[in-house]
Amino acid sequence: MAAAARAVPRALREAAAAFSAGGDVAAALGALRAALEAAGGAAALAERERAQYGAFLRRLVGNPDSLPAPQRQRLWRGFFAEAPAALGFPVLAEAVAAPGPGFCLTMVVETLEQFLQEGRLSALMWEVCQQQAQDRSPELQETLLSKIVCLPDHVSNKLQGKNPPVFFPQNYFPLLGSAIIQVLQKISDSLRGGLDCSISFVSHVLGKVCIHGRQKEILSVLVPHLTDVTKSDCIWQRICWRLVECVPDRWMEAVVLGFVQRASGADVLSRLLGNLVVKNKKARFVMTQKLLLLQYGYTTAVLQNVLGYLSLDSLRRALLIKVLQELLETWGSSSAVKHSPAEQQQYISKAILICLSHLKEPEIESCRQELLASMMAGVKCHLDSSLPQIRRLGMIVAESISLKINTDGPVLKFQYEEDNETRELKSLLVQTPPCSVVPSLPDDDRNERADAALPVVLESNEKPHRAAPVMPDEESDAELDSDDDLIPYDMSEDKELKTTKAPVYIRDCIEVLTGSDDVDKWDATIKALENLIQKNPAATREVSVELAKILLHLEEKTCIEGFAELRQRAQVAVLITDPIPVAQYLTSQFYSLNYSLRQRMDILDVLVLAAQEMSYPKIRGKNKHSGAQKPCIQLLPGSDSSKDWRRIVNERIKSKTRRFAKGQSEVKQDSVPNEFNSIAGHFFFPLIQNFDRPLSTFDLLGEDHFVLGRLAHTLAILMYLAVNAMAVTTMGKALLEFVWALRFHTDSYVRQGLLSCISSILLGVPTEHLLEDTTEELLETQSWLADVVEKDPDGDCRRLALQNLLLMENLKKKLETVPS
């Protein structure tokens, strides 16, 4: 045996000499093969011989031509096939990456393909792992590592389009994944056999693949398998933990994110990662900071995985509380509420709710005061926001926190509309039961808590169910058939019968509204008022300002359904009947002392609605229907006027878009003069004049930014409705100045209003005037818009700005096509 082993170096030397001297290569190789066989195969070589063998293979790769032609392929391949994977693979990979002269690419690639298909990748890694246990040359491993991971890139670089499918990343990395599984299997076997084994090379491979952006391919193979084998096997669990722990810090983030996104549940994640967050700083940073506070693109399931993972071990629970505190800090910071996008705030709210669902009674007890403090701060700045979505988020989170910290006392309760989003958020407060039982968990406790939290959601779901009331009837079990086959008719009209008669004259109405204590009469009056005003324009004109004043100051005496809308309709009717004096009155009141924000916003709404009706003569006949469908602009602040605006712009865009396939299907309306045109100025200018003069009770540029936002939207709509009016150019100019003054306002609702103003200007003012009179302003605005598109944190603002830029672009094009 020893003699045979000695024969190998000699044969190697001779073969090398044959290559360099150009001797009988075939004979030398034949001798080498014989010697190797005698020594028991290439795998059995000692270290020195291995190095020599490696050098020989390198030489062989470079000179395939020196082999005798007939057996060239077979012989050449034979050497690589028989060589140990750790020797043959790097030589081949190197040859692909940096080909030498006289090198046959196809042969190398074919050999590599065969190598992969025979599954020798796992053999390769296993060899390295074994060597690693004996602690050998890290540099060599490093090169090997990059060869394994970058092989698809190298091969495709060389072969360009003719890459064999096995080297496609979507094929190669799953293959690599299954090779890793095989290696892990071997490691597990050898551990069971009592042998030491190093896993770090596999971890390196995994890390490097992940950082190269191939998490999806490799982990989609690895994670399901690992999930499966770790279910009941603690050795596998240990292997898995080690596998992740050994990933170098610089690749840790990619690996952890991959696992977090692919694990099918928090318990699975906990099994796969162990206490990684406690041991590894980088992983802790990723899981507790980056993923929760810095990024917000992940799904709710990922959040649930991460936070559930944190809650599943006593060591990690401390982190969970810390995370919750940090989340609450962000949630309660007014700057974050103001400047971060709504999506991120929603993400953080979700995370808070999930955290709360995991907390236990004693833990809450320990940080109740802090929770309370941050809740108070957070509610305040959320309710300050002018975006309804943010306000609602604040309400939901605050309700949930208060529910958790006041187990017996009164809890916070807000009024908001239920929709899918709120239901989803609230459902997060209830833990989904783990799909497989994790033995180390105090499960009963968890379920109890879930039960305790359940009524919250049930309560919120109750409303839809209530539509079909099921009476708790003691006989119900005895009576199988019931009334249910009788379908009730609509009974919404079934209201209390009114006996009082509504007044018939406007002056009577004024009397009732100012002086009367008769609630029924008052009620009937407010309901009849709009109709009366519309029927008696002459009589209304005599008292129009007085009536407008009464209506503006009218308070709801008793609970009347739709009071706000009734009052608004009446106000609009007065304004339409006698536009100039009433508009003067209303706009002057908007900037005067001692009005509530509510009243000021009423003024704005009334101006807009009246302007709208006057400029669309066709809908005036259908007033009542449109009023009924659009319940109370006032009750849904924020969303409505901006939506109006969007609808208008959409219509406008639609009308400007030329469609070839469609004929002109619209029937032409009878043309009616636009009543709003002549009086647009009376609506517009008094409103825009005084916005920068703070009063003692009203500061548009300061605290009352919500009204400022409404004002901006109102001006935008008025501007748009005044299209073709005489004053439109002056209005546009004034509005541009208004926008310019406020363009860096911190509130996104205000900015949205300003952007709508710009759209209205672009659509409303005739192009020639716009370019003649306001060229500089337009250019400035354009650069501001470009800035908003890039940098604004609010998605709606970005979208609006982009739309504006498009409109500008269209204007420019139009100008080019029309020769001036």
Binding site: D483, P488, E493, D494, E496, L497
Partner: protein, 328 residues
Amino acid sequence: MALPPPDPEFVLRGTSAAVHTLHFSCAGQEPDFPILFSGSENGFVHVWNLKTRRVDTALDGHGRKSVYWVETLDAKDRLLSQGRDQRICLWDLAEGRTSVTDSVFTENVGFCRCSLLKVAQGRWLMAMAAKSLEEVQVLELPSKTSVCTLKPEVGAKLGMPMCLKLWQLDSGSQPWLLAGYEDGSVILWNLSMGKALSQLVCHQEPVMSLDFDSEKAKGISGSSEKVLSIWSLNEQQNLQVHKIHKLVNSGISDITIRSDKKILATAGWDHRIRIFGWKKMKPLAVLDYHTATVHCVSFSDHRNPTERLLAAGSKDHRISIWSIYTQT
């Protein structure tokens, strides 16, 4: 979204006075046409042909005093009518005749409608408010002999009887009387013993109307209040309140349970007819057509259940005819 409530099938106009009572007679075979009798405030009983939707005959027998109860004895040609002239008339309407063949002088000045129960072929019991204020008298028809007089105990202070309902569990068995009184109580009377078995105070105001379902031993009553009271009769012949159903507006002038015991209708002072499922008092519909108080509601006795109609008579001189929940 639930369907809007239906409109009336048709409306009968022409009584030229408030309608106080209605009675269908539709069980006859072809070529008989369905008939609706209506009694109105001007003392006429109108016979409506429901095929032509016209008045066939107008019967004038109560001296222009309001008619507030009409009922047929088996066939449509023998009609009982009760008027404010304190008389109950028996009409013979066969072969186009319109004559009063018999009459009972009640000497009662109240508004209490009579109640009729057929106890055997050609033998009826009729309960009516009697001359003295609190009493109810039961007569046998057609002989007009008094069966019993039901007097409340001395000092009971029930006030006048307001509404009556004679019933028996099945034909041939003992007849019972339910009477609603002015003080808001309902009393169950045993006719053979002439004794009050059970008294239930179910309203604060006079009981305006009641109806009883003998199969389920459950009844319903309405008053001038905002509630309907549903009560039941237990094995020990005790009345007890089962449920109180709140209404939107106060005042119920008539309640009728349909003969199949599936739905019931109420006539409201708020001009509306309300339909409920009888089993659970599930509100089913609010029929809003009339412009004044609805005085009476009545279900037709068509043999084919899908043809069944509901009629309501109102102070606005109209009779509205509805076809509702006929498929069940």
